[in-house]
Amino acid sequence: MMWSSYLYTLAWAAITVGFIVVSSAAVGLVARLVARMRGATLRQQHDTFAGYAFASPWIVGFLIFVLLPVLASVYWSFTSYRLPNPPQWVGLQNYVRLLTEDRDFRAALVNTFYLVVFGLPAQMVVALMLALLLNQHTRGEGFFRMAFYLPVILGLNSAVLLAWVLMFNANTGFVNVSLRALGAKVPLVNWLVRAFIYVVELTNAFFIGLQNGNYTLLQKILAAGFPPPHRVPLWLQSPLWIKPSIILLLVWSCGSMMLIYLAALNGIPREFYEAAAVDGATKWQRFRHITLPLLSPATFYNLVVGMIAILQLFEQPYVLLRDSPTVARGGYTVVLYLWRATFRFNEVGYGAAISWILTVIILIMTLAQFKLQDRWVQYELR
């Protein structure tokens, strides 16, 4: 019984390999035929055959797993389609419902934008700081680089995310217990934590107001005033704290951004700094007028890649939200909502519409970044 599912997939893998070989040969032969009819030389015919045959695993895969699904899903997004019933044309109804009626979807959109607006800059600033620290020709650079990069490898695995769930527990979790202990010893820490709580809760209450058009929570927090000494962050237990928790995880796994910055820092010629030092520029001036501008291509890359990654966030909210269904609406991301809305009741039409809205958002925001890059990305010093 146990082996049958493996054998089944292995058999299909063998069939697939056979299919790829045959289809590659077929694509190559057709390409060579066309080349011959166009009067190509023998060598050109040979290369045409080989080129198409070698590229055809991707070409065939593109047709089956990308082009066909894309076309089908555009159509299905305009239908009411719940498996196993056939699709029925409903025009724009899915999109209208998503954008005007569906409050969970609106919450997911607001949450995702919140994570982009607050999480992305936090990630990039920390990544830059770590890269600047590592760029001081420190001993053991290899070890530190590894330590800072490891969370990227682990950060999406639900096993590691569960360790965070344990640490974020509001009463007995490591984070809050140490905050309490530190706050009891050092009054300044206590005061800082309370200020942090105040700022986070006010911001998040405002965003929850944006989600449901009801600002009573914000008013309540304002009325309660500055948090009393015993307060600690509620992390995963409150809709006010779920997004800051996710941002903390994002910052924790900023290692690949750091590596990009580090590579860019290595590419800045020493002479620039020496020349500036001779002219009497201070450290800050050198950072502001040499390092920062010359890092702007790396910043641009991190911005685009990081933004796309956050718009597609799924694992973190999935694992963090399992613990407490009550905070769900504070933590839904678009992809998490796509999964919930589509696959629980096989709502293909609705899910297709969500995925197209997501794709259009990603495209628009990426294009906007590319349009805006001329204004601030510098490839050399001016």
């Binding site: 290369d47 899903s73 590691v160």
Partner: protein, 302 residues
Amino acid sequence: MVEKAYEPSEAELVLLQSRRQRSLKWQEVVGRTGLYTILVAGSVVMLFPLAWMVLTSMKTYEEANAPQLVWIPENPQLTAYIKILNDMDFLRAYANSIFVTLLAVGGTLISVAIVAYAFSRIEWPGRNFVFFLMLSTMMIPFQALIVPQYVFFNKVGWIGTFNPITIPGFFAGGAAMVFLLRQFMLQIPKELSEAALIDGASHLQIWWYIILPLSRPALATVSTFLFVAHWNALLAPLVYLQTKSLYTLPVYVASLVNPQQTVQPWPTIMAASVLTTAPLIIAFLFAQRYLIGGIVLSGTKG
């Protein structure tokens, strides 16, 4: 009359210089100490969740859920490991994860290497167009395809099997990986394959005997990326597997937390987490330099 500016004597100059050097050195010592303090503190923060995972897995249930923080378990014990290793579903999930990852990484790696060869070592009409098409598919988020692909796999009866999370990779899944490998293969001198072609070798032979051995570092990078991606994958297995006996590790381990209970069996969960994470860490330690090279390559030349 021009007043002569004060000129320090030789001895004074030496004294001044040594004093300046001493203060510079002093500053440097302070700066370096601060730097290392921050770096060490940073790594502690970054690695802490892992340490906490291991520590918790060796605690008793009472220690793990105690209101007073227990740093180091009083009597470190392996009860949690014994418990999770006797959990047939966990072992099954482990076997499933190994099977799925090996098959998907193997199939993807070979097909990606074939396609990258076409885009870097052969001149053929339409190459630029097809390459551009491939790069533009990177703009389509994987999540946008999962809905229609689900319908497609449902039609052919593949839901509830490992096929949807392994087979698509055989078609050179992952344009970024093809791109990375192509960049690497472009750097291999053209003369190598030209000479072999004149000697009558076929492209398949050149690919296998010349290009693949020379691309080993890039292949290591790609396989590590693929391994990490498949070992961590959550969304696709959640959507396609649907039966507990087919769950991969991330899906199964996530299901160990029961939202209905207030007290979770944390030591057991963390023992499962440690065992799930171990292959990743081992792979990372072995392939570290390839990974870091790969990220920089795809970032700076992309």
